[in-house]
């Protein structure tokens, strides 16, 4: 860590050497790989992560400082560089001072150092340190700079002209920002990155999923300032709460946001394990601030997390009834319907309408039954609802067959069907009917006899995609009626085979019906799959719906209704059916969201040797790592217990990790810069007293996020000007000591949102499905083929970037160019780069060109266009020199368009002031 260059000499002179702050980072980085917590890698059975005793420590120092290349540690013969002089000096000083070990700082519960009454704790701690460092805080930033800074920080959008012109006080302005729905949109996007939220699955063909109802949940949670402990519990385990509400279940979508695969040929369990690992590691990064992923294959090399403990944590997330191979065309189970209030209203209206129709229909039943009881169905009567075709019958010789022609049977994998045929086979093997390639392992639908058993195939690709099942028992000799039905829901339970009207037990031979079937083969009777039929096939009929047994056991009833019912009964029937259809059709349009669920029986979890899915070792139990406080005795040993444990008052990490991340949101870097890692390899906190104070305060005040942020932005530390002298910039280039305000490039979404807002194009609409603003043509096709990206017309082009459709394998280019995480896995650390591609993006992207045009129009409609442009984008008045330069540019170009573009491209425009 470069920081040492500046701070250590000061630390050396000012304070006694402390193990955690000064020594552990060196030992961890340079020694623990071989002399740390990992039992398998430990060399010479010597460890430095725990106190080895004074003699051993002295010896260790000797080995570090020796000039003998053969003896020197870390070993030269393994290519390791020696420790730096400053590092050696620190270690020596520490050993000479007694070599006191400390438990790693972040594993000790935080304590709150008392702060003088009335003082802002942040300023109190920062001032103390600055005094020690001989630094003075910077003056307060200008009103305009501060308004722009805090508006961007809390809402992601610049202040409005009205805000700027008002005389609102700073604290009141902060309150108004926190009360705005924009605040939720601003906070949600970082959470989406942590939650690896996206609109597609993320592997290979990268099919679409629908998780935006979870995103809405997050937006609402921030908008209503849901306490962070509840926010945690509902997202990790909302489904396990007593009487869980639909919203609490939707919240658990958090851990279904990870990537999933639908690549043909994958090993299901390998990827299922990957998903569970992703949940475990994401949980650790977001709540524990620990990199537990290191312990997936071996004991952690730096932190006290054994491989066994990794799988103990893993076991909590290993209970979902899920598959590794997922559905490529929508959500994978488990999922729930997640209607919005207006959808719910519409649905209940339709339910009510259906209920009325059903009641009327039910009331007619005794009359219908009486009238139809003695009714003899006309010869050859069949239900005409969704009827496809019929065929009277023929005798087959085992060679010839009937070609039913193309396109008579529109069958796909989600189309329900009923196949009916009466057969009198002369051989135990043969094809009854099919719409399939004419060889056995081909693609398509087929009803066969295999060793006397009735076999049904719905196959896309024989080897891995499709469904095959057969009756357990062979047919007895003679003539039989076979009826095969399917409900269109892709699961084996939705298939039935009836022999002479009796539902047969089925054996599932292959179960992976998850890919569309586009068979270009004709419909054949007596042939298919390379097989023929010998014997008689008659009374063949096909429907594109699932017939129910009543329809053939009670033919009189249905035939009477079809052909003999009086008009009022026919009318009631039509109305009932129509109401049912309307309701079902509407219900099908209501979006779902994937959620967490635990199987009724606990899935045993094993340590996986080398992390391999197929190398199970010892069984493990759901237990939290021993270096952290245990779960309370009575707590449930499941996700709910785990979630509650994370936000328990005794937990040393969650509150610290959380306030540190929010600090990063405002100041650009956490008080511990490595926001995902507060472990041994993480950065030593610049202000541990402050971090701990904030953490305890956060818990004491009910995990109140808005309150926490308010404390931060009302501090004088936050309100300092970001202008820095050359001396201060050099002394503290990353501003870790906080002797000035944060000056940082805006987050990717803010850059675009600001341009939309300043130009007046922004369409503000809270929540809802993702939108597709324009992107350069061909981006999807060149990588993945297909029909490509179709940009929205209308408001979808101008919504906040939070709502932009996120395809994981081909991400929105302007977000990625400005350092957005890819959403492939959890990322909580913010990064910022400065590249020529960003310049090209801002100058030439259609979206920014359009924004500049509109901004120019707004500017030129006012008396002082330059000032208007500056106020809208930079929230300040132009200086004389700036005005002069822009007026000259206006003259040069003859319009305001380029001037507006220049303003949007200013370093200041893309930077928090």
């Amino acid at each position: 860590m470069r920081w040492h260059l500046w701070v250590l000499p000061l630390a050396l002179s000012a304070q006694p050497v402390e193990f955690n702050r000064d020594v552990r980072p060196i030992l961890s980085d340079r020694c623990y790989t071989c002399h740390g917590p990992d039992t398998n890698q430990r060399k010479a059975n010597f460890r430095l992560d725990r106190d080895p005793g004074p003699e051993a420590l002295k010896k260790a120092v000797e080995r570090i400082v020796t000039t003998s290349p053969a003896k020197r540690m870390p070993p030269q013969y393994l290519g390791h560089a020696p420790l730096k002089d400053t590092e050696v000096a620190l270690i020596k000083q520490w050993v000479e001072g007694g070599g006191q070990y400390q438990q790693h700082w972040s594993l000790i519960a935080p304590r709150k150092v008392s702060v003088p009454a009335g003082a802002n704790a942040i300023d109190y701690f920062v001032r103390q340190r600055l005094t020690r460092e001989n630094l003075a805080p910077s003056p307060r930033a200008s009103r305009e700079a501060l308004m722009r800074r805090v508006a961007l920080d809390l809402t992601g959008l610049p202040p409005s002209l009205d805000d700027l012109a008002s005389d609102i006080s700073y604290p009141a302005y902060v309150d108004s920002l926190l009360a705005s729905p924009r605040y939720a949109e601003r906070m949600a996007i970082r959470w989406l990155e942590a939650a690896r939220y996206a609109d597609t699955n993320g592997y290979q063909s990268d099919g679409e999923r629908s998780m935006w109802r979870w995103r809405d949940w997050v937006l609402n949670a921030f908008a209503t300032n849901m306490p962070y402990d509840r926010f945690t519990v509902e997202q990790l385990a909302g489904d396990l709460l007593p009487n869980a509400t639909r919203d609490q279940k939707i919240a658990t979508g958090f851990h279904r946001n990870h990537r999933t695969t639908a690549e043909g040929g994958i090993v299901d369990e390998e990827f299922r394990v990957e998903y569970v690992a992703d949940r475990s590691e994401t949980t650790a990064a977001v709540w524990l601030g620990l990199t537990v992923g290191c312990a997936r294959c071996h004991d952690h090399k730096y932190d006290p997390i054994s491989q066994k403990e990794y799988y103990q944590l893993f076991s909590f997330f290993n209970q979902v009834p899920e598959k590794g191979f997922v559905f490529n065309f929508g959500n994978e189970e488990p999922y729930i319907k997640a209607p919005l209030p207006d959808q719910e209203k519409r649905l209940s209206e339709l339910d009510a309408k259906l209920e009325v129709a059903r009641k009327r229909w039910d009331g007619l039943q005794s009359k219908i039954r009486k009238a139809s009881a003695k009714f003899t169905p006309p010869v050859g009567w069949l239900s005409m609802d969704d009827f496809v075709l019929r065929f009277a019958g023929a005798k087959f010789d085992g060679k010839e067959f009937i070609d039913g022609g193309l396109n008579k049977t529109p069958l796909n994998f989600q189309d329900p069907f009923t196949f009916m045929a009466t057969i009198k086979p002369e051989e135990p093997n043969g094809a009854i009917l099919s719409k399939s390639e004419d060889y056995w392992e081909g693609t398509g639908h087929g009803l066969y006899l295999v060793d006397g058993k009735v076999r049904l195939h719905v196959v896309f690709r024989w080897t891995d995609l499709g469904l095959r099942l057969e009756t357990e028992k062979p047919l007895p000799p003679g003539e039989h009626q076979i009826i095969a039905t399917y409900d269109g829901k892709r699961k084996p339970g939705g298939f039935h085979i009836y022999v002479d009207g009796v539902d047969q037990p089925l054996k599932i031979l292959f179960n992976e019906l998850s890919w569309p079937i586009d068979s270009k083969e004709p419909f054949r009777i007596g042939a298919g799959g390379g097989k023929r039929f010998k014997g008689e096939i008659r009374d063949v009929a096909i429907w594109k719906r699932e017939l129910t047994p009543a329809e053939w056991t009670n033919r009189s009833y249905y035939a009477w209704l079809d052909v003999a019912a009086p008009p009022e009964i026919a009318q009631a029937r039509r109305e009932f059916q129509a109401a049912q259809r309307e309701r079902d059709k509407y219900f099908a349009t209501i979006q779902t969201v994937m959620v967490m669920q635990d199987s009724p029986t606990w899935r045993k979890t094993y340590l996986l040797r080398r992390g391999a899915y197929d190398a199970p070792g010892d069984e493990v139990q759901p237990i939290v790592p021993a270096a952290l406080p245990p779960m309370p005795a009575g707590a449930p040993r499941n996700r709910l217990g785990l979630a509650r444990w994370l936000v328990s008052r005794e937990h040393p990490l969650t509150a610290r990790v959380t306030v540190n991340r929010f600090w990063q949101t405002l100041f650009g870097a956490g008080l511990v810069k490595t926001v995902e890692d507060l472990g041994s390899q993480g950065e030593w906190p610049v202000y541990q007293d402050l971090l701990d104070w904030l953490a305890v305060e956060f818990m004491d005040t009910g995990w109140d996020v808005k309150r926490l942020l308010k404390t931060m932005v009302l501090s004088e530390t936050y309100q300092q000007t970001s202008k820095a002298s050359a001396e201060l910039t050099q002394r503290d280039p990353e501003n870790r000591l906080l002797a000035r305000g944060p000056r940082l490039r805006l987050a990717p979404e803010m850059i675009r949102d600001q341009a939309l807002a300043a130009s007046g194009l922004l369409v503000e609409k809270f929540g809802g499905p993702s939108v597709k603003p324009p992107q350069p043509p061909g981006l999807w096709q060149e990588l993945a083929g297909g029909s490509g990206y179709k940009a929205d017309e209308g408001e979808g082009r101008y919504r906040r970037s939070l709502y932009t459709y996120w395809r994981r394998t081909i991400q929105p280019p302007s977000m990625i160019t400005f350092d957005s995480p890819t959403r492939e896995s959890c990322v909580v650390r913010e990064t910022r780069t400065n590249t020529p591609l960003q310049a090209l993006n801002l100058m030439n992207d259609e979206a920014y060109v359009e924004a500049a045009l509109r901004l120019a129009a707004r500017m030129s409609a006012t008396a002082d266009p330059v000032a208007t442009g500056f106020r809208l984008v930079l929230a300040r008045e132009p200086q004389a020199k700036e005005r002069e330069l822009l007026l000259a540019a206006q003259k040069r170009f003859g319009n305001w368009n380029q001037v507006a573009s220049i303003i949007l491209n200013l370093d200041e425009a893309v930077t928090k002031p």
């Binding site: 690549e263 043909g264 990957e274 290191c294 020529p836 330069l885 200013l906």
Partner: protein, 464 residues
């Protein structure tokens, strides 16, 4: 690292004095190169989908005698199958439908599908004993490109850009070129294959496109001339300078430099992609396809032009080599799209004296099985993914020309000699650039990561 090089890298990548990544990068890599490089740049001709070694370079004459026989269990040895062929009822072996002949002084066997490659075999180093852990496209390609099968690690090119930067002030150090393959059913590619992973995003590959601007947003909006852009940037720069004088933030100066760099790219990239001044002989060499943007041939020609301009890592992808079925039709089509231009690139680099310090690599993410997948008829067959052995070739940049390393059994099912895994290949590529793969590291989440993770050994035997 020379001063000039250092400067150019910093200019392009924008590692300003205060930039976090810039400083850690410099800190972790102060000693580069670790040894004398034999290559200054790499052109990687990635054949996505997994081209069959059996129809290209791994000649197995004895297969003729076992046509349609089941693969002996003694050969298969319980090998993990993709679940695609796991439910297949039999594993009938099928020989290459295409004939092989020996070529050049080295006598390398090449199938009739690659007549142009056959002419340059004496420049090539074949590795017949490549193998990988991964049997499905997504994890296998991700493994090849990033050294790890799960997304999140930096790609090879990003590591190299991070380690060595660009030699050209006006172009990125890592450029990606994609051609789809005309079969129309190629495996998709993913941004992560040239992504920066946990490295700062400026190290990610810049994709040169054949549709629209070659680099995203390169072209000025309608009606803006170069003079206009210059005047625009002069005003922008002056305004930024006014602010810099007040805020003292070095990032502001870095931004001014990045806009200037963008301006230069707007000239250098079109100049680079403009092949109208290439002589007729170029198109004779690379084939007429080289005139059509977005073809593999056009990309090979661009690769040469990029190499001439000192771009460090040039990554081509050609899609659609995934021949589970219909291989006798698909494979010749892909070969026709790639053979001439790939060979032309090597020959062209050689005649320009660039092959000495340019390493060219050809290969896919895995090989294909000796047994047929799907329907086997007299004239049609397919092959499943095969991770246990496949062939790649390399040329120039310090490779031993006209040699073959490693071998496989009579079924091209198992390696019999000198296995080379993906980490070994990565270690070897870095080695040619003067980089010790164990020393090019980046600290992330508390760990010093490297391209080869904890694996990889340089394949010394293929080095000249």
């Amino acid at each position: 690292m020379t001063q000039a090089h250092n400067l150019s890298r910093r200019l392009f990548l924008g590692a300003s004095a205060a930039g976090l990544a810039g400083r850690s990068a410099l800190a972790e890599m102060a000693d580069l190169p670790h040894h004398k490089p034999t290559a200054k740049r790499i052109i990687y001709l990635f054949q996505s989908g997994g081209p069959s070694q059996l129809e290209s370079f791994d000649y197995k004459p004895k297969l003729k005698d076992v046509f349609k026989q089941d693969l002996p269990e003694s050969v298969r040895q319980g090998q993990r199958l993709t679940t695609m062929s796991a439910s297949q009822s039999s594993f009938p072996m099928v020989p290459s439908k295409f004939s092989f002949a020996q070529h050049g002084k080295s006598g390398a066997w090449v199938s009739e599908l690659f007549p142009h490659t056959a002419k340059i075999v004496d420049e090539l180093t074949f590795i017949k004993s490549m193998h990988t852990d991964q049997i499905n496209h997504d994890p296998a390609v991700t493994f090849f490109q990033t050294g790890f099968q799960i997304a999140g690690r930096p790609s090879i090119g990003a590591w190299i850009a991070y380690g060595l930067g660009s030699e050209n002030q006006n172009l990125p150090g890592f450029i990606v070129l994609i051609s789809p393959g005309q079969g129309g059913s190629g495996q998709p590619l993913y941004d992560r294959l040239w992504g920066a992973g946990f490295l700062p995003s400026k190290y990610q590959g810049v994709k040169f496109r054949s549709i629209g601007d070659p680099v995203l947003y390169l072209k000025d909006p309608e009606g803006i001339t170069r003079d206009d852009r210059r005047a625009y940037l002069d005003t922008l720069g002056a305004l930024n300078q006014v602010q810099y004088e007040q805020n003292g933030d070095p990032e502001t100066q870095a931004r001014i430099a990045q806009y200037e760099m963008a301006f230069r790219m707007q000239a250098s990239v079109p100049e680079l992609t403009d092949i109208s001044k290439e002589p007729e002989s170029t198109f004779k060499l690379y084939g007429e396809d080289a005139r059509k943007p977005g073809t593999f041939a056009a990309n090979c020609l661009l690769a040469r032009r990029l190499a001439e301009r000192g771009v460090r890592f040039i990554q081509l992808f050609h899609r659609d080599w995934d021949h589970h079925g219909g291989l006798p039709k698909g494979m010749p089509a892909r070969a026709k799209e790639t053979d001439q231009a790939g060979a032309a690139l090597v020959a062209d680099l050689k005649q320009r004296g660039l092959l000495d310090d340019t390493l060219v690599v050809w290969g896919g993410e895995f090989g294909r099985t000796v047994y047929c997948q799907g329907r086997l008829t007299e004239d049609d067959y397919g092959r499943d993914h095969h991770p246990r052995c496949f062939t790649i070739w390399m040329a120039g940049g310090g490779m031993k020309p006209g040699t073959t390393f490693g071998s496989t059994d009579d079924f091209s099912y198992n390696i019999t000699e000198n296995p080379v895994d993906v980490h070994d290949l990565h270690a070897t590529l870095l080695h040619t650039l003067g980089v010790d793969h164990t020393k090019l590291t980046y600290k992330f989440q508390g760990r010093h990561f490297r391209l080869t993770d904890v694996h990889g050994k340089v394949v010394k035997a293929v080095l000249a």
